[in-house]
């Protein structure tokens, strides 16, 4: 099943093999279970996790290790099992970015989105060590 999605500037055709499924949805947005990850090279390393079927609705995400190289979220065994993850290499991690006023940009290190890169099944996880990490970790941006 292919579907066309409009980002406002272009219409893209989404192939089912590019769809990331989040069976439990993101916290607070449990109704949205399918996303695509869009990357504009000019916006790198930011990427868009766009909701399939809801034109324009998206979350800005980033690879957290680019801002916090020591980031080590401990994913609990139940979460690993539900994602079918047996090897850390099979996991992709990205975190939700919030653009706040006055040029401030932060990333949520408390609730990473873990993706099984082979099955493209994902989950927003509360790591065992969530309390060690900031909900609003500042991202340096050019002024």
């Amino acid at each position: 099943m292919k579907c066309a999605e409009s980002t406002g500037t272009q219409t893209l055709t989404i192939k089912p093999e590019n769809i990331i499924r989040i069976p439990q949805g993101l916290l607070g947005f449990e109704q949205y279970k399918e996303y695509v990850l869009l990357a504009n090279p000019e916006e790198a390393p930011f990427q868009w996790l766009q909701v399939v079927g809801e034109s324009g609705l998206a979350f800005l995400v980033i690879n957290p290790f680019l801002v916090a190289p020591d980031y080590q979220p401990e994913v609990g065994p139940e979460d690993l099992r539900s994602l079918g993850l047996t090897n850390p290499q099979d996991a992709m991690v990205f975190n939700v970015v919030t653009i706040r006023g006055a040029g401030q940009v932060t990333v949520n290190l408390k609730g990473p989105i873990i993706v099984n890169r082979h099955t493209l099944v994902a989950k927003q996880v509360v790591p065992v060590n969530a309390l060690h990490y900031s909900l609003q970790f500042p991202i340096p941006v050019a002024g």
């Binding site: 916290l27 947005f29 324009g56 609705l57 800005l60 801002v67 939700v96 970015v97 653009i99 909900l135």
Partner: protein, 134 residues
């Protein structure tokens, strides 16, 4: 809200498949064990609320302009200032005061400016600029 009283080691079963057990009671703290299918997310409420609230704040509609990611590599250096070329002017001879010319002109440096974009020789119009205006 359904309120039930339980003693240590007693349990509650929800929806026939979620088990909540009182593991230990110590001081003001209750240790709770939860047995639930893997498709049922279970979180401490305050952490869940925080992340949920953060997601709501983060959600965008349309495509806002993004700031440029700024780290960890250092910002590129600003281009060096253009070289200043000074004419070699004869040093004023304190013994023989010169009355010729304008001393200010002789000592004022003449700058040779190089820019990233094209330079035009004096007297010529910038043809490229004109073309882009048409």
């Amino acid at each position: 809200m359904l309120i039930l009283s339980r003693k240590t080691s007693e349990s509650i079963i929800i929806d026939g498949r979620i088990l909540v057990k009182i593991v230990r009671i110590e001081g003001g703290m209750v240790k709770v064990g939860i047995d639930a299918p893997s498709d049922v997310p279970v979180h401490r409420q305050e952490v869940f609320d925080e992340i949920q609230r953060n997601n709501v704040e983060a959600l965008t509609r349309g495509r806002p302009a993004l700031p440029k990611f700024g780290a960890p590599r250092p910002k590129p250096e600003a281009p060096p200032p253009p070289p200043v070329v000074q004419p070699v002017a004869p040093a004023p001879d304190p013994l023989n005061a010169s009355t010729e010319g304008d001393k200010a002109d002789a000592t004022r440096p003449r700058k040779t400016r190089t820019t990233n974009h094209r330079t035009t020789a004096p007297g010529q119009t910038d043809k490229r600029k004109t073309q882009s205006e048409t």
